[in-house]
């Protein structure tokens, strides 16, 4: 479905943004239908941070989701609030497709955190 944005409380203010901070910011982007964040839903597949440039690979619960085009801007707004982030690039993919099994997995088990 889609997502909306609630206020993330970004901890820390070091110059180099961390994955934890980005994940925390993404935790503020909620699915308005389900009331769960894109992180809780397991929509985030990958986060790469290089010199303040954040690259996020994510999916949606269904291909052709009507918020396909606006989701990246919501994600960008949330992550740009993290101190030290200079740019945010969001790539939507459906490979692999999202399944509900991803909901119960923790960000660590998904490989988003070391």
């Amino acid at each position: 479905m889609s997502a909306f944005h609630r206020a993330p409380a970004i901890a820390g203010s070091s110059d180099a943004p961390t994955r934890e901070q980005v994940l925390e910011a993404l935790g503020g982007v909620l699915d308005p239908e389900l009331g769960m964040s894109v992180v809780e839903l397991g929509l985030v597949y990958g986060i790469d941070i290089v010199d303040g440039a954040v690259h996020i690979t994510m999916t949606l619960t269904a291909p052709g989701c009507p918020v396909h085009e606006v989701m990246p801007s919501w994600i960008r707004q949330a992550v740009m609030a993290v101190p030290g982030v200079l740019s945010v690039d969001v790539r939507i993919t459906f490979d692999p497709p999202w399944t509900p099994e991803r909901i119960q997995q923790s960000p660590r088990s998904r490989g988003l955190l070391a």
Binding site: E33, G35, A62, C65, P66
Partner: protein, 433 residues
């Protein structure tokens, strides 16, 4: 009015499906409100001009407009392809709306030339929808279960309308061979099993897992549903039209498809990751349960264990009022808030607090609608089976009250489109960055 929402991906402007869905909801309220008034007629034979008007208010005004509105919203999502022409869809809406009003009013007063003209308008509107859908579908690259069901449904819709046109013309020129009632029954079953059933099953295959957070269905129920309808509907229709030997096998195969659908919905409900069901999903699941009663009475009619107008009317109410209408009410309680939210609040995300979809609605009205509509449909089916006008009138009042609660719930959501109806999420805890 608000500024338009973003034009996102392949989805059409939210006002396009909303026009269909809101008009359909109005037809539903009108039909339910007419039941108590038509109680004496409903206690008699179903072939009565006013009851035919009521039936077409439900089938054309409520069901067909809902399906078309939902399909303009859902087909782009389900098929990942934009609607071929939104302009054609808007013209089609007006032609269908005027044609449906014309058909219902001419049925009510029993004027056949006017009925035929209105039926031609409806046929033109349906043809526009079929053209739009065909050109949208032609760009689909991967033919999964849902596109196949949608093609089946729209083929069924085309045949149903063609059949209806012939029946309307036959009221004037009397050219159709065979008896009238078997032809009428074939028209009804073509609409119910050839158009409505595949569209519900096909759309459900994609949106129920999305709403319930359940695994997408697969395996034998999928194949039994598809082939059950693909083989069973021609069997039932030709069986009614003049090859009686095909009626019972056709009905059995359709019943198998219904059983597979129920198995499949139950699996999704059981395996869902969404802990709490909202009222929309409760409507959908309860509507599916009505398939058991409707299917049982339908099989009883096919096997000649039941007969006559009492059983036929109870069957029609269980199928159209129970399974189909409760499912559509549930889907509307999911789709309309999303369309309104998307148009009004989506552009504000990240700038001001916005509510969630659940905060747009009116849960008390939805709960009352659920209790009254499910109870009202069951009571009406029982009262029709008995044939007592007072009981039918009482059940109709319950149903009408439920429809008004549903309308109130929808109106509360639509009120967000007016500036005075909007509410920030701050009061309810949701915030933005």
């Amino acid at each position: 009015m608000s500024r338009p929402g973003p034009s996102a991906g392949s989805a059409p402007s939210p006002t396009l499906p909303l026009a269909y869905l809101v008009t359909a909801a109005a037809a539903f309220v009108l039909a339910c409100a007419a039941v108590p008034a038509l109680a004496p007629e409903l206690a008699g034979h179903y072939y009565h001009p006013r009851l035919t008007a009521l039936a077409h208010t439900v089938t054309l005004g409520w069901i067909t407009l809902s399906v078309m509105g939902a399909s303009y919203q859902l087909i782009p999502i389900v098929l990942s392809r934009p609607v071929w022409s939104q302009r054609l869809a808007r013209w089609q809406f007006w032609i269908l709306a005027v044609g449906t009003i014309g058909m219902v009013s001419h049925f009510y007063i029993g004027r056949w030339p006017g009925l035929l003209m209105a039926a031609v308008m409806v046929a033109a509107g349906v043809t526009m929808h079929l053209v739009n859908a065909a050109l949208t579908l032609s760009r689909v690259e991967r033919w999964g279960l849902t596109p196949r069901f949608i093609v089946m449904a729209f083929a069924g819709l085309g045949l149903t309308v063609l059949f209806g046109l012939l029946l309307a013309a036959d009221r004037i020129w009397k050219f159709l061979p065979g008896s009238f009632f078997p032809t009428l029954h074939a028209h009804f079953h073509l609409a119910l099993l050839g158009f409505v059933a595949p569209i519900i099953i096909g759309v459900a295959a994609r949106v129920y897992p999305m709403f319930m957070l359940a695994p997408e269905p697969s395996g034998w129920p999928e194949r039994v549903q598809f082939w059950g309808l693909a083989l069973g509907v021609p069997g039932v229709v030709t069986g009614l039209l003049g090859v009686p030997a095909l009626l019972v096998p056709g009905a059995i195969v359709v019943a198998a498809a219904s059983a597979a659908h129920l198995t499949w919905v139950s699996r999704m409900a059981r395996d869902r990751k969404r802990p709490a069901l909202d009222w929309g999903l409760r409507f959908v699941l309860t509507g599916s349960a009505f398939l058991i009663a409707g299917g049982t009475v339908g099989l009883g009619l096919a096997f000649d264990l039941l007969s006559g107008p009492r059983a036929a009317l109870a069957y029609a109410v269980l199928a159209l009022g129970g399974w189909v209408s409760l499912t559509i009410v549930g889907m509307m309680l999911k789709i309309i808030p999303f369309l309104v939210w998307y148009r009004i609040y989506s552009p504000q995300v990240g700038r001001v607090p916005v509510p969630t979809l659940a905060q747009l609605g009116w849960p008390t009205a939805e709960a009352l609608a659920y209790a009254l509509l499910t109870g009202g449909v069951a009571a009406l089916a029982a009262a029709l089976a008995v044939g007592d006008a007072r009981l039918i009138g009482a059940a109709g009042i319950i149903l009408a009250a439920g429809a008004l609660c549903f309308a109130a719930a929808v109106a509360r959501v639509l009120y967000h489109m007016a500036p005075s109806g909007r509410r920030p999420a701050a009061a309810t805890g949701a915030r933005t960055a």
